[in-house]
């Protein structure tokens, strides 16, 4: 009330006494009005801008600066030019980490997107139950760390209930998180389990935007569910799917907590994903300069992938209408 009456937005129609009073006070429209808007806008933008500068812009710039230094947090940073980047290019563990991360993302996003799409379509075409939608979301309500620990216990080779069941049916126990072949797919699937419901709901929201009469018309023309999925659902869902993919791929590249609680990067670096390697360099070995250089590399990789995905999927365009 106070704010609105002290600086009236010129485009908003003010009615009655308040509008008249304001007009009579400021006396004229135009330059004075827009200056008032500017101040008001600044007041509104300030909190978000402050947050952006303090928590994003400044850390990013400082991170980029630190990537050119040798820095252990406790003594002043020492400028070393491109040394950290040269070291990164020659560091086989960095390249291994990047490969492991890409494999993880491929499994995680591949399985998750297909499953989420299937769940979303089923939710849209078969049921309207809000309870079911809620159930689908349940794993997402659990924290990553808790989900990781629960699965760690379920899948423990010797004591886990999952392996007890496998052994009970006469099969060999599977070292899900302790074997270098199994560990990354297992972690990827644990995260699919946690995120698939949320992804499905996002896609479901996209499906809701597709006009129902299209399906009705197709039905009249004799199209089956399978044909309608490929000819109507997929093309019209594409922009939403593209945005969901971009978001989930970025999230997937940043996998850390599940690895930290289940395998700690092991066995023998088999799950040493990039974020975990960066964390180790920074917080265990105090090599903040090198860790920053690797973070900058991750930033570049993610930006490139995002731009590429955006272009390839034409995420900015819709085929609707």
């Amino acid at each position: 009330m106070t704010i609105a009456s002290s600086s009236p937005p010129s485009r908003l129609p003010l009615s009655g006494a308040e509008g008249a009073r304001t007009k009579s006070r400021t006396g004229r429209e135009g330059a004075g009005e827009s200056r008032g808007d500017g101040r008001l806008a600044a007041v509104f933008i300030a909190p978000a801008l402050l947050g952006y500068v303090v928590f994003l812009l400044w850390p990013t710039l400082r991170g980029i600066y630190l990537s050119f230094t040798r820095f252990n947090l406790l003594t002043p940073a020492e400028w070393v030019g491109l040394d950290n980047y040269v070291r990164m290019v020659h560091d086989p563990i960095f390249w291994d980490s990047l490969t492991i991360t890409v494999v993880y993302v491929a499994i995680n996003i591949g399985v998750q997107t297909v499953s989420a799409l299937a769940i979303a379509v089923l939710l849209q075409r078969l049921t309207q139950s809000a309870v079911l939608r809620g159930v689908v979301l349940t794993p997402y309500l659990m924290s990553n760390v808790v989900a990781g620990i629960v699965w760690l216990w379920i899948l423990d080779t010797q004591l886990g209930i999952g392996n007890e069941i496998i052994a009970a049916v006469g099969a060999d126990r599977i070292p899900f998180l302790a074997d270098e072949t199994w560990a990354i797919p297992t972690i990827a699937l644990i995260n699919v389990w946690r995120h698939v419901g949320y992804t499905a709901l996002l896609l479901f929201a996209g499906l809701q935007a597709i006009p129902n009469d299209m399906y009705e018309a197709a039905k009249v023309d004799g199209a089956g569910e399978w044909r309608m999925f490929w000819r109507i659902t997929m093309p019209l869902l594409r922009p939403v799917l593209a945005v969901v993919l971009i978001m989930t791929v970025i999230g997937s590249f940043q996998v850390f907590d599940t690895v930290a609680v289940t395998t700690g990067g092991g066995p023998a670096n088999a799950t040493n994903v990039l974020q975990y390697y960066i964390y180790g360099a920074a917080f265990a070995r105090f090599q903040f300069g090198y860790a920053s250089a690797m973070s900058v590399a991750l930033l570049v990789v993610l930006s490139a992938i995002t731009v590429l995905q955006y272009r390839l999927t034409r995420a900015g365009h819709t085929d609707l209408g």
Binding site: T2, I3, S5, S6, N72, L73, L74, T75, I149, L152, W153, D156, T157, Q158, L159, G160, P175, L177, A178, D179, E180, V261, T262, G264, G265, G266, P267, A268, N269, N272, G280, F283, A284, R285, F286
Partner: protein, 451 residues
Amino acid sequence: MRIRLHTRIRTAVTGALALSLVSGCAQGDGTGASANTVTYWLWDASQQPAYQACAKDFERQNPGLKVKITQMGWDDYWAKLTASFIAGTQPDVFTDHIQRFGQFADLDVLEPLDDLGVKDADYQPGLAANWMGQDGHRYGSPKDWDTVALFYNQKMAKDAGLTADQLNGLAWNPEDGGTFEKAIAHLTVDNKGRRGDEPGFDKHDVKVYGLATNGGGDGDGQTQWSNFAASAGWTYTDKKRWGTEYRYDSKTFQSVIKWYFGLAKKGYMAPFTDYNSQSNQANTQVAAGKAAAAFDGAWMISSYEGFKGLDIATAVTPVGPTGKRATMMNGLADSITKNAHNKAGAKKWVRYLASNECQKTVGGYGIVFPATPDGTKAAVAAYRRKGIDVSAFTEPVDDKKDFATFSYPITNYAADVYALMHPAMQDVFGNGKPVSSLDQTNSQINLILDQ
């Protein structure tokens, strides 16, 4: 209206400032930093009551001084300690581990303690000397110690026909494993009830392993391979302290590792895939009845004794090719932070923690072996009152003729050594990589130490 708006903004800003000042004060209270308070951090919850008792005596003897003890779990402890050094909210005094000593010395966050008058002779051998930095200054005051011994399930041993005397008289060698390997094989039982040394034993279908696994052991192998490597005459580095070259490329070391991990290949020791640092450590394997015995440290005595329905006893480490038994003797210390808020009070508190008086108090709780001989005696007596025989841990310290004790490797770049050795040993144990692959890891480590 405009005036009112400005007034409101001003009020809001003033309010925010006031709030931050208040929270700033609250933060100050949180760390307990003040002229008459000494803040002290430790990670072992079971030790807190003992040190609380010391603090009470200390406060009585030093009117006006208060000790504020904060306990947090191992992982949080080091993360918060690191963060506190950066934020300037570090404790005045903290429990220090030898593995971190090199790094903290590099980071220059520790206060020299030369004027505390810590004398080597007042403590169990080697404990005080380990906390001397490369610059000749002391950075830790001896607090306690631990050794490693063999915990075993008495019922399983009895079923196997193995007596306590036999288990305390084992010997091993890297060729055929000696009587130690025979005993471990005999303790192993497959799902058809055949023992590891009996014909037809199925190593792929083991019900109870003779020996539990604690993983690859990283660069120290404290509760894994260290007692074998040391009793074969191997040492981690070229010097006792602050060595400049590691020796993971030694043929002796590699033969020990090959034999030790080979126990898993034979089905006598739980395989690498059974181990998980979170969900299934050696003690869990023993508690679950999946393993008959496990090498573990004195800090685990209460855990093993607490296993419901299991009768656990301990035996000394086996005699090695050198003719001696070996066990790692590790000691914690109290360190003062360089930017301690109350340095004078901190020094008084550390001097008291290092005193026989406090160490005897701590010993009386029967949860840890204090560093002074009298403190150790008090602990042994307290354990005895609980019905626990701890001689497998104390004998190596008392009997220098038959036992060799050795320390954690103390060098610079300990975190880098860990980062390289942790996956390398997992590769050998879990993926069957040849032990000779450690040659390359060793060169990488020594290259880092050369910097």
